[in-house]
Symmetry: C2
Subunit: 330 residues, 2 copies
DNA sequence: GTCTTCATTGTAAGCGGTTGCAGGGCTGCT
DNA sequence: AGCAGCCCTGCAACCGCTTACAATGAAGAC
C-alpha cells in the first residue's frame, strides 16, 4: 500500500492524502473523510522511512542502556519513553550488555536512523563514540559519563556524596571492616562508584579496612563477589554494593553461607529500584531519581532541538534510604 | 552527510559508493579504499531510512512486549535480540504496559517502519490487531495469544499442564485451601493461567477450596493481592502466583504480616526468572524456556521470509522447579 | 458582469539511497 | 593491428512521502 494507491482510490492527489494524514487543516472535510475511508479500506500504513526521509526530521529519539535486565535502566527508559510519547515521539531502545562495540554499533544505528536525539544511559564509554556523536551534530544527553561540547547535556549523580553517606552511616553503626561488591564496566559510573567508595573509606584512614570484589552486573555476579570476598579471608562486617541488582545476589549468598543480615553483616545497595523494598531483609540503599532522569533527558534533547538554553549539566544527590539490611556491627 | 558528498569527495559516482558500503565485491580494491577513506573523513552515516526505502527490505524485526519491568519479557527479548543480531538484523522494541491501545499503536509503528517481521510477546490482545497484522502480510509470531492464517507462527505454553503440576504438588503436600494471585490482562496468558489454575482446582472438587485475587503485574501488585486475599477472611495455606515477578511481592507482604513461608503458607511462582532463585525463601516455580522462545520466535520470522516450511505451532511444557517457598501444609 | 481573493487541490521537485543497464578501458587472442 | 570479452563505473529511474508553488473555482467587491 502506498500513498498513491490511496490517492487513486480516493480520487485525489497524493499531496492531498498526505495533508489529510498529517492533519493539515487546509483540507475540506468531505475530502478528508473520503481519504480516510480509502486509507482504512486499504489497510494503509504510511511508510515511516519515506516519511522521515522526505520530511527531513524524525519523530524518534534513540536511547541506549547497558543492561535491560537491571531494573535501574528500565526505569529510566520507561520515564524517558513516557515523556517522549507525550511529545509525540517514540524511542528506539538499544542495549549494549556493557560492551563498547555494541555501544558503537548502537550509536551508528541510531544516527543512521536519523534519530532526533540520543540518550546514553550507559556505564561503558569510549571517547571515539562521543566524538562520533558530536560530529553527527545530534543533540545528546549523557548519564554519568561526561561529554563536552556540541548539543550535549550531562546528567550526573554525585556518587561521592552517596557513598559517603552510606559509609558514614555504616561507620556510625560501628562498622570498621567494609567491602565493596561491584562489577567491571569499561568506565563510569561503576568505576566511579568504586572510586567513590574507596574515597569515602579513605576519610577514615587506618580506622577502617576495606576490600573490593568485582564480578558482573547481576544477582549471580553479586553472589560471586561475596564468594570471592569471603574466600579471601577478609571478614567484612558490611558490604557496600555498587547497585541493588547485584545486592540481591549478595543477600542470597550470605544467607546460603549462614551469614545473618544484618546480624553478622550489613548490606547496602544503590539505585533504590522497586525490588529493593521486596528483598528479605529489605535493602538499605541510596535512592537515585530514575524517573526524573528519564524525563530530564528527554526535555534536554528536545530543548536542544528548539535551541533554547538547556541546562548543560545536571547534578543529582543520592538519598540514603535506610531499611532492614543494615544494623550495628557485631 | 549524504552518499553524494562522499562520492564527490572520492571522485566516483554514488553508485560506486553504494556498492562499497554494501560490500559488493565488484569494486576495485583501490577504489574501495578511496571511498572508505572519504566516508570516514566525513563521518558519514548511511541514512537507514533511505536505505530501506530504496532497497525495499528492512533489516529490523519488531518485538512488542507487555511489561519491560517484568524480567520474563526482557529475557525473551534478549534472546530474540541475540538471535537477530547473529543474522544481521536488529530489533525494534515496543512495550505496551498491558494496554491494547499501545499494542495497536506499537503494531502500526512497526508496520510503518516496515519491519521484516513482528514478534508479539504480550498478554493483552485484540482481534482487530491480529487482523491488521495479517492484512499487512508481515510474518508474525505470537506468544500465547493465538492467531491463525497468514505468515503466522504460534508459540504457546501449556499452562494447564503447568498449573496442574503446581497444584498437584501442593495437594500432595497436604494443601487444601489455595489461592491464586494474578493480575488483570485483557486476555491470555494471564487469564489463561488463572483459568488453568481454576481448572486444576476443579479436579479436586470439594476437597479443596480456592479463591483468586487480581491486581497489577508488579511486586507491589502481588503484595496488594495478598492484602485482598487475607483481608477477605479466606485463609489459604498456599498461594499460587501468576508469575514470579508478582510472587516477590507476595512473599514480602506475607512476611510483613508475620506469615511464615513456607511454614504457614506455601508460595509458587511461574516463569522461573533469574530472581526466583534469589528471593528469601527461594521460590518454587514453573520454568518456561524464555531464551528458547526468543530464539524460536526469530527463527520462525526469518523462516517465513524464506518461505520454507515453518512450524506453525510450538507447544512448551512448563517444568516444576521446587525450591524453598513450598512445604507441607500446616 | 468583471476582477480580486481565498479556500482547496494538484504538480512536480526533491529526500538519500539501490540497482538494472550501458559504456569505457584493458587484456588476450588471432 | 584489430576485435571480442571481462572489469569496473557511471547513468538514471525509482522507492514512498513532503512541500513549495501553481492552478482551479467559487465567493465577494465594485
Amino acid at each position: 500500500m502506498t500513498l498513491e494507491e490511496v490517492a487513486r482510490r480516493a480520487k485525489v492527489s497524493t499531496a492531498t492524502v498526505s495533508r489529510v494524514l498529517n492533519n493539515l487543516d487546509v483540507v475540506r472535510e468531505s475530502t478528508r473523510r473520503k481519504v480516510l475511508q480509502a486509507a482504512a479500506a486499504l489497510n494503509y500504513h504510511p511508510n515511516l522511512n519515506a516519511r522521515t526521509l522526505a520530511g527531513g526530521k524524525s519523530r524518534s529519539i534513540g536511547a541506549i542502556v547497558s543492561n535491560l535486565s537491571n531494573p535501574f535502566f528500565v526505569d529510566v527508559l520507561r520515564a524517558l519513553d513516557a515523556a517522549a510519547r507525550e511529545r509525540g515521539y517514540d524511542v528506539l531502545i538499544e542495549h549494549t550488555d556493557y560492551r563498547v562495540t555494541r555501544l558503537r554499533a548502537g550509536v551508528r544505528s541510531l544516527i543512521g536512523k536519523r534519530a532526533a536525539g540520543l540518550a546514553l544511559i550507559v556505564s561503558e564509554m569510549d571517547p571515539a563514540v562521543i566524538e562520533e556523536i558530536r560530529a553527527s551534530g545530534l543533540p545528546a544527553v549523557y548519564y554519568d559519563v561526561g561529554a563536552a561540547g556540541g548539543k550535549t547535556t550531562n546528567i550526573r549523580v554525585r556518587y561521592e556524596t552517596g557513598m559517603q553517606r552510606a559509609v558514614q552511616y555504616l561507620y556510625s553503626l560501628g562498622h570498621r571492616r567494609m567491602a565493596f561488591a561491584g562489577h567491571h564496566a569499561a568506565l563510569s559510573p561503576l568505576e566511579v562508584r568504586k572510586k567513590a567508595f574507596l574515597a569515602a573509606m579513605k576519610r577514615y584512614g587506618r580506622q577502617v579496612q576495606s576490600r573490593a570484589a568485582l564480578s558482573h552486573d547481576s544477582p549471580a555476579g553479586g553472589a560471586q563477589a561475596v564468594r570471592e570476598l569471603l574466600g579471601s579471608g577478609f571478614r567484612p562486617t558490611a558490604i557496600v554494593c555498587v547497585n541493588d541488582y547485584m545486592a540481591m545476589g549478595v543477600l542470597r549468598e550470605l544467607r546460603a553461607r549462614g551469614v545473618a543480615v544484618p546480624g553478622d553483616v550489613s548490606v547496602t545497595g544503590f539505585d533504590n529500584i522497586e525490588l529493593a523494598e521486596f528483598t528479605n531483609p529489605a535493602l538499605t540503599t541510596l535512592d537515585i531519581p530514575r524517573a526524573a532522569i528519564g524525563r530530564m533527558a528527554l526535555e534536554a534533547l528536545l530543548q536542544e532541538e528548539g535551541s533554547e538554553t538547556a541546562p548543560r549539566e545536571v547534578l543529582l544527590d543520592p538519598e540514603l534510604v535506610v531499611r532492614d539490611s543494615t544494623g550495628p556491627a557485631r
